[in-house]
Assembly symmetry: C2
Homo-oligomer: 248 residues x 2
């Protein structure tokens, strides 16, 4: 057992990048098997994080990327006058911590919404590997570039779209992300509160609530607290026409 690992528990057995069910989504994509073995060596695995725990906080010294294997995270910034802005949500197969590379400190905080198991990828190790593994370098740029594209899509959403379009786009984005990791595209549980959704979409919590009610009345979906069933994705898509879906 490697020294730096904390007490290993269940869920950490027989896990390697090679066998990880997320290997298509996480860093290894586009890398050879040998490359993956190399990557596997630098990954630090920890016991699962519990809801409310922070992966890192804004201002912390940035030293690693974190790949989410299960659970869900919320990223947010805190303004000087105290209130928070939700930057995004991280689902399995996705990565947080890119923003720590710019000046050595994380610009945002990352907190657990649903119990999460997470792989830690230290910058230093990644950088070293980039010199030897040609695939990793490209893949890292691809990931971070994708982040840029996703953020730009969000800019469009917040700048131009109505409340209705924002929520529809948000739900379809979640749907697509769940789907791409093999889960149902039309039925899922929201890992976040109305508060978080509203904050993220630049809407009041009451507006979010009302929109869910509207959508249900118009038979676009069924909602019960955090359980969502999308019943008419075609019409939902029609609402967001012209918006690139957030992430993926």
């Amino acid at each position: 057992m490697p020294a730096r690992n904390r007490k290993l528990k269940i869920a950490d057995i027989k896990v390697s990048c090679g066998t990880c069910s997320l290997s298509e989504l996480c860093l290894p994509h586009g890398m050879s098997h040998d490359d993956m073995d190399e990557l596997d060596k630098i990954v630090k695995r920890q016991q699962p994080f519990q809801p409310g725990q922070h992966i890192f906080r804004a201002g912390d010294t940035g030293h690693a990327l974190f790949a989410v294997r299960s659970g869900a995270l919320k990223s947010y910034c805190t303004t000087e006058d105290g209130d928070e802005q939700v930057i995004g949500f991280t689902l399995p197969g996705e990565v947080v911590g890119l923003d720590g590379m710019s000046d050595g400190n994380y610009a945002s905080s990352s907190v657990v919404l649903e119990t999460a198991s997470i792989c830690e990828l230290p910058y230093n190790s990644l950088e070293d590997m980039c010199h030897t593994l040609s695939g990793l370098n490209r893949q890292m740029m691809r990931i971070v570039s994708k982040e840029v594209v996703a953020d730009q899509a969000m800019l469009l959403l917040l700048g131009k779209r109505t409340a209705e379009e924002r929520l529809a786009n948000f739900l379809l984005g979640l749907s697509s992300r769940y789907h791409s990791r093999g889960l149902s595209a039309n039925q899922f549980n929201l890992p976040m509160s109305r508060q978080d959704i509203g904050n993220y979409l630049g809407l009041a919590i009451e507006t979010v609530s009302r929109l869910f009610a509207n959508f249900q009345k118009n038979e676009l979906l069924t909602v019960n607290r955090r359980q969502i069933i999308l019943t008419d994705m075609r019409r939902l898509r029609a609402m967001v026409e012209g918006c690139a879906g957030s992430k993926n």
Copy 2:
């Protein structure tokens, strides 16, 4: 004269990354002199671009980053229903084209606002160099990470701030960017139209115009079409308290 360069003209004489006045801002930052010479070899320089010319368009095969040495660019996306969303503006010492690395195609378009001289940095060459120059790799991640942080700050702006706060933040951002390349922090010309500003900030063009009028009435600045003089930056800053300035 290298084969790929088009006819070289004035403004392209005696230019190298080593002597470039922007070397502090552009890629070379944090690299050794030898490294810069290497970088210099892969840079393609072209004759100046004229206003209205495109550096690249959304959908084009992404093959290079573009570093702006002078002039100004506008980045934008076009939605399916035709209208455009301004993603950002690029000033001297800054880089565009990061979004072409995710899936091989640019996600946004980049058009010239003010006559611009531009260095082209092909992805392939950059990638090759990353294997040999340790400084470059880190610097590239820093640049792209900075982009992520800046986009996130914009998300906060569009999601939470009033029209007034957005414009104040925008002006201070420009001010800071001009200042960091040695120009005046309180007096500059806007390279973009009201249309572009409004689009970028998620505001109607009339709102932008009214705000400029208000700001002037309140003696925060003097505005004459595109010429701006910030006369009370302290109070402007007070308005945006809690917003991270966009870029830099």
